[in-house]
Amino acid sequence: MKLKVSDLTIARGGIPVLEGLSFALDSGQALVLRGPNGSGKTTLLRTVAGLQPAVLGRIDVPPESLVYAGHADGIKPTLSVAENLKFWAEVFGNKDYSHAIDAFKLAPLADRPAGALSAGQKRRLGLARLLVTGRTIWVLDEPTVSLDAEAVALFATAVRGHLAAGGLALIATHIDLGLSEAQVLDVGGYRAKPLAENDFDGAFL
């Protein structure tokens, strides 16, 4: 299992944000993306996840191996915690979701409507979804937002377990997850040059 990105240029709203980006991840490896706000971390993750096309370059991902978790958790407030997880497990063709409940200590909340959870509890539910998918490449955008220190530790444990089982993780985050084995990539160095302003006529053609 290998995730390989070569010479990638990505754009947001038609404006290139990052260019010349290359990295490769093997089984058991994690890559942490850093960079200031607006530097294109989310765009990069969405491009890798296949939600938007790359401007230039290649992304080699084995088919049906990737799971994406964005800023929003995709939680339905009127379904219970267990129902939310069960749904995502079934979408990814799995039955069992109890290990995800245990990993993020959601057992006391399992029957509660997800709308009644706090922001951090919702996030834990959103991250628990990763475990029920059974996918090997995790693409995570700011996974630790609104988590407390204890929950961050739970998350780091989950990532470590995932890597130990041969998984890959691509994580955009600002805080230190305590993943000493993870490589760090600062996307700030790949900022795209602004487009030359000679396409004025082109805008009207």
Binding site: D73, I75, L79, V91, G93
Partner: protein, 218 residues
């Protein structure tokens, strides 16, 4: 796929899901018609098939923006787009869930509402058949409209403007089936046309909806 269908139906049934909304709206519209055109039952019987079809169509329209907008807001749509389900399947299942929670109840309450508009006795059967055959097209076309407007905040009005013209053929032939049935004429031709429109939309529009949705998710 089945998990998604069951989830959507369950969500619609839960509080705030808007399950009864379409049917209630249909009821109100139909109750208002006699107030507007007067209580002469001869006139009402004449316009009943058309009014019932129009009411059903508007009730269907009311719930269209729920099909995809809610999933867009909470991020589920991004996650579904990266899931093993093909996008065409997602939009088809969503249209089916919309039909089960909106179209089918409309078909079920129509006989009662037909009574309020003194629909001729011969018309009931054909009205129900025409709605049963026609409402799936309303859901599928509506899902296409919902996919077009999914990224827009409060795109409900735009959605109506986009979708209503596309509903015209279904309305024409659906109401024609019901009217001919009520008048005791042969209904074969408009019914075949209506079924053809429904089959065509079910076969083709999911691909368009999925393509539009992929663009809108960028």
């Amino acid at each position: 796929m089945i998990a998604l269908l069951l989830r959507d139906i369950r969500l619609a049934m839960r509080a705030g899901g808007g399950f009864g909304l379409g049917v209630s709206f249909f009821l109100i519209v139909v109750v208002l018609v006699p107030f507007g055109v007067g209580p002469q039952s001869v006139l009402l019987a004449k316009i009943a098939p058309g009014m019932l079809w129009l009411g059903a169509l508007l009730a269907c329209l009311l719930s269209l923006d729920r099909i995809l907008a809610l999933d867009w807001e909470d991020g589920s749509l991004d996650l579904l787009a990266t899931s093993p389900l093909p996008m065409e399947g997602v939009v088809s299942v969503k249209a089916l869930a919309h039909w089960v929670t909106t179209g089918l109840p409309l078909v079920a309450v129509t006989p009662v509402l037909g009574l309020l508009l003194s629909l001729p006795e011969a018309g009931y059967k054909w009205l129900i058949i025409s709605l049963f055959v026609g409402t799936p097209a309303l859901s599928v076309i509506g899902t296409f409209g919902a996919a077009l407007t999914v990224g827009l905040k409060r795109g409900g009005l735009l959605l109506s403007l986009l979708v209503l013209p596309l509903y015209v053929p279904t309305l024409i032939f659906g109401a024609e089936v019901a009217r001919r049935g009520a008048d005791g004429f042969d209904t074969t031709t408009p019914l075949l046309m209506l079924a053809g429109i429904t089959c065509g939309t079910i076969a083709l529009l999911p691909f368009a909806s999925a393509a539009v949705l992929r663009v809108n998710l960028r």
